[in-house]
């Protein structure tokens, strides 16, 4: 019970961090069809911007400024580069973002160095919020939960209660029709790309000091975010939200559930010994492969339900 509850909390916090990252990507991906490989780079830039800004004027202004900087950069990228590449189709866009990711990584290395930077949790949040079965629940993790929930609500309201939100939503499902109705689709694209970058930047501000701010953070966070987006389904923010939570919880529980296939077979009365075929594979405990489960789930979902969990369009 104790482990269950703590793990539930752990999974929730991690899942919400994933959601912050994935929500921006899912918006960009669904709307523009751009599989934005540079999305995790925006997350990294958010963390680095926050580090630099917080050194001068503190963490709280950085919480606002860093995502705005990321958004501005995203808007510039969309207006002056991506829009040109867009004419040449999705493959060109994808390659463009791959190149961009490399350039951002190199740029970060040149600007901030190859080592991790001391971007720290603000002192007011650097304490235990409450104790649960002798473990601290760190105040900053509570803060992360709060921010991500606020973000979810804000996006939800923006998409369902505002005019631009309605246009975006329409474009999510019927992008051609929206253009035909006379909306300024390029501007909507810019807004979506900038908005997605803001969300990634915010995730960076929050995640950078919770995890570690270093030049490889984009490369390590990138793959899992794609998994979440594809798993959740194209064009569905709710699907993305649910997928994030599932990924967070699956990875968390995989660690604490110490079983292997051999244990399952033993329950069925089949004993696995060293001479059993594939004994090596069968006896691998779940925690050892826990971090790979999302990728396994990605493959399964693509095979069984290619549209993803709640997807409304084909990938």
């Amino acid at each position: 019970m104790e482990v269950l509850l703590v793990s539930l909390l752990n999974g929730l916090v991690y899942g919400m961090l994933l959601f912050m990252l994935a929500s921006g990507l899912t918006l960009i991906f669904s709307m523009m069809g751009v599989l934005n490989f540079a999305h995790a780079s925006m997350y990294m830039l958010g963390a680095y911007f926050a580090y630099s800004v917080s050194r001068v004027i503190g963490f709280w202004p950085a919480l606002v400024l860093a995502p705005i900087l990321c958004g501005a950069l995203g808007a510039l990228i969309e207006m002056y580069a991506l829009r040109r590449v867009h004419r040449n189709g999705h493959i060109a866009e994808l390659l463009f973002t791959v190149g961009l990711a490399f350039i951002i990584e190199k740029g970060v290395q040149m600007a901030w160095g190859l080592l991790a930077v001391p971007y720290r949790v603000p002192p007011v949040l650097d304490r235990a919020l409450f104790h649960i079965y002798g473990s601290n629940f760190h105040a900053y993790r509570g803060f992360m939960l709060l921010i991500s929930v606020l973000m979810f609500v804000a996006i939800w309201l923006l998409l369902t209660r505002t005019r631009i939100g309605l246009v975006i939503q329409a474009a999510l499902t019927h992008p051609e029709m929206v253009g035909a109705l006379g909306h300024n689709v390029p501007r909507v694209f810019t807004i979506v790309f900038a908005g997605g970058s803001v969300l990634a930047g915010l995730a960076g501000v929050i995640g950078g000091n919770y995890l570690v701010t270093e030049p490889s953070m984009a490369a390590t966070m990138g793959p899992i975010v794609f998994v979440v987006v594809v798993f959740g389904g194209l064009g569905s923010l709710a699907g993305c939200f649910i997928a994030s939570l599932i990924m967070g919880l699956v990875q968390t529980f995989a660690v604490v559930v110490d079983v292997s296939f051999a244990d399952l077979l033993a329950r069925l009365g089949i004993q696995v010994t060293a001479s059993t075929p594939l004994a090596e594979v069968l006896t691998i405990p779940l925690p050892r492969v826990g971090a790979l489960l999302p990728y396994l789930m990605l493959i399964l979902v693509l095979l069984i339900k290619p549209r993803g969990l709640m997807g409304t369009r084909d990938t």
Binding site: A116, E214, I224, F253
Partner: protein, 416 residues
């Protein structure tokens, strides 16, 4: 008049070219060239870059003290991008230029390729041999099953580091948790730590033993929950990079108040990532930290590393690198030659005094260095802090070279 001016200019330029040309040629023939290959680009560029800067500092010192056999050492670097094939290109380039030494520090897979490459080359080219100095590839096999006469390992191997870690466990710690990365290195740490626990500390119980996928885990809090539930008093890990820093950060955030024993927390970026929360909790198995000289009163060494601090933006950690060049210097001077055949023979079994005043030996049987090793604890109130965090390393355990004289299975073929 104008023509005269032109003539003078031409003459001057000619003389200048000639003079500089002769200068470089002379210098090239005069120096003892050492090929250094490590990742200098890509995700591990930081390691190679910091090593290179420390090597340069050390060479200035060694060359200032006469180099070897009246010649100065010169370092030539070659980016191997963490690829064995690229490292072999470095070897080719070194042998083409008749360099006597090739040096490589990161990656046991690269080291294995180099040992093989050097062996083959030396067998085929008896007049152009090369010595391979391994400055940090730590797989135990390299000086056991795979040992070679031309390979000299100037760093403790995994087994020695594991033994140092186990020896540092205080008497009141009886429950430990092992967590390592699921690949060759992590598995050898896991295996060796368990072996030395059984041998040296039979009273210690392993309450958890875990392997994690390399570089895939972002959130370590579930592991922390497990470690806590297992009632461990100490966490023993060979993790490096984000797998180490994220693990420790997560433990600090959850208030898991145990001893953290690592092998790499003292290397570049570790102190920054762990931060003040690690005070008195995080330990690392290491060959050197800047406060050892202070603790043992070696003022000359302290002054030397202090000078490095003042001119670089990171701390000096590579005392072993200075030992390498002191070994090469001593062996070449003893042999009276920079010819690999001659100084390799002189290097075998050689004992010198390192910068901390300990007697270190290049064991003849397997070409494994026997040097002192330390376990430091990350603490406040030390004279030299790490990476400007205000915290630095304080020695908790010192293991002498004689205590790390582990048996080996090397069956070395010596050139006849």
């Amino acid at each position: 008049m104008r023509q005269l001016k032109r003539l003078i200019c031409l003459l001057l330029a000619g003389v200048l070219t000639l003079w500089t040309g002769i200068g470089t040629v002379g210098a090239q023939q005069g120096t003892i060239k050492v090929m250094y290959t490590d990742p200098l680009s890509g995700p591990f560029a930081q390691v190679g870059d910091q090593n290179l800067q420390q090597f340069k500092y050390i060479l200035d010192y060694i060359n200032g003290r006469g180099g070897a056999v009246g010649r100065k050492f010169e370092l030539v670097s070659f980016d191997n991008k963490s690829q064995p094939s690229e490292a072999l290109l470095a070897l080719k380039s070194a042998t083409d230029q008749n360099m006597p030494v090739i040096m490589q520090c990161s990656g046991s897979n690269i080291a294995a390729a180099l040992i093989e490459g050097v062996d083959k080359h030396n067998e085929r080219n008896p007049n152009n041999r090369i010595v391979y100095v391994n400055c940090g590839a730590v797989a135990t096999e390299l000086t056991n099953e795979k040992c070679s006469y031309w390979h000299f390992r100037m760093d403790a191997h995994v087994g020695m580091k594991a033994e140092t870690m186990v020896r540092a466990l205080p008497k009141d710690v009886t429950k430990v948790y092992l967590l390592n990365q699921d690949y060759l290195f992590g598995q050898s740490v896991q295996h060796d730590v368990k072996a030395f626990l059984a041998k040296l500390r039979p009273d210690v119980k392993v309450v958890g033993d875990e392997l994690i996928p390399l570089g895939k885990v972002k959130d370590f809090s579930p592991y922390i929950t497990k470690i806590k539930a297992a009632g461990a008093q100490a966490l023993l890990t060979g993790n490096w990079g984000p797998d180490m820093t994220l693990l420790i950060k997560s433990g600090m955030d959850s208030g898991l108040d145990i001893r953290y024993y690592t092998m790499y927390a003292h290397l570049g970026g570790g102190a920054t990532a762990i931060g003040p929360a690690g005070n008195g909790k995080v330990r690392s198995v290491m060959a050197f930290h800047e406060n050892i000289a202070v603790e043992t009163g070696k003022t000359d060494t302290e002054g030397w590393t202090k000078q490095f601090r003042s001119s670089h933006d990171f701390d000096f950690y590579a005392a072993g690198f200075r030992t390498i060049f002191e070994f090469l210097q001593a062996a070449m001077n003893k042999a009276g030659s920079a010819d690999p055949v001659k100084f390799a023979a002189a290097l075998e079994g050689l004992t010198i005094t390192d910068m901390l005043g300990h007697q270190v030996t290049m064991r003849k049987a397997d070409h494994q260095i026997l040097s002192e090793y330390f376990v430091g604890v990350f603490s406040k109130g030390v004279k030299y802090d790490s990476e400007k965090t205000g915290l630095g390393w304080k020695t908790e355990t010192t293991v002498l070279p004689k205590d790390l004289d582990q048996p080996n299975t090397c069956n070395m073929k010596r050139p006849s």
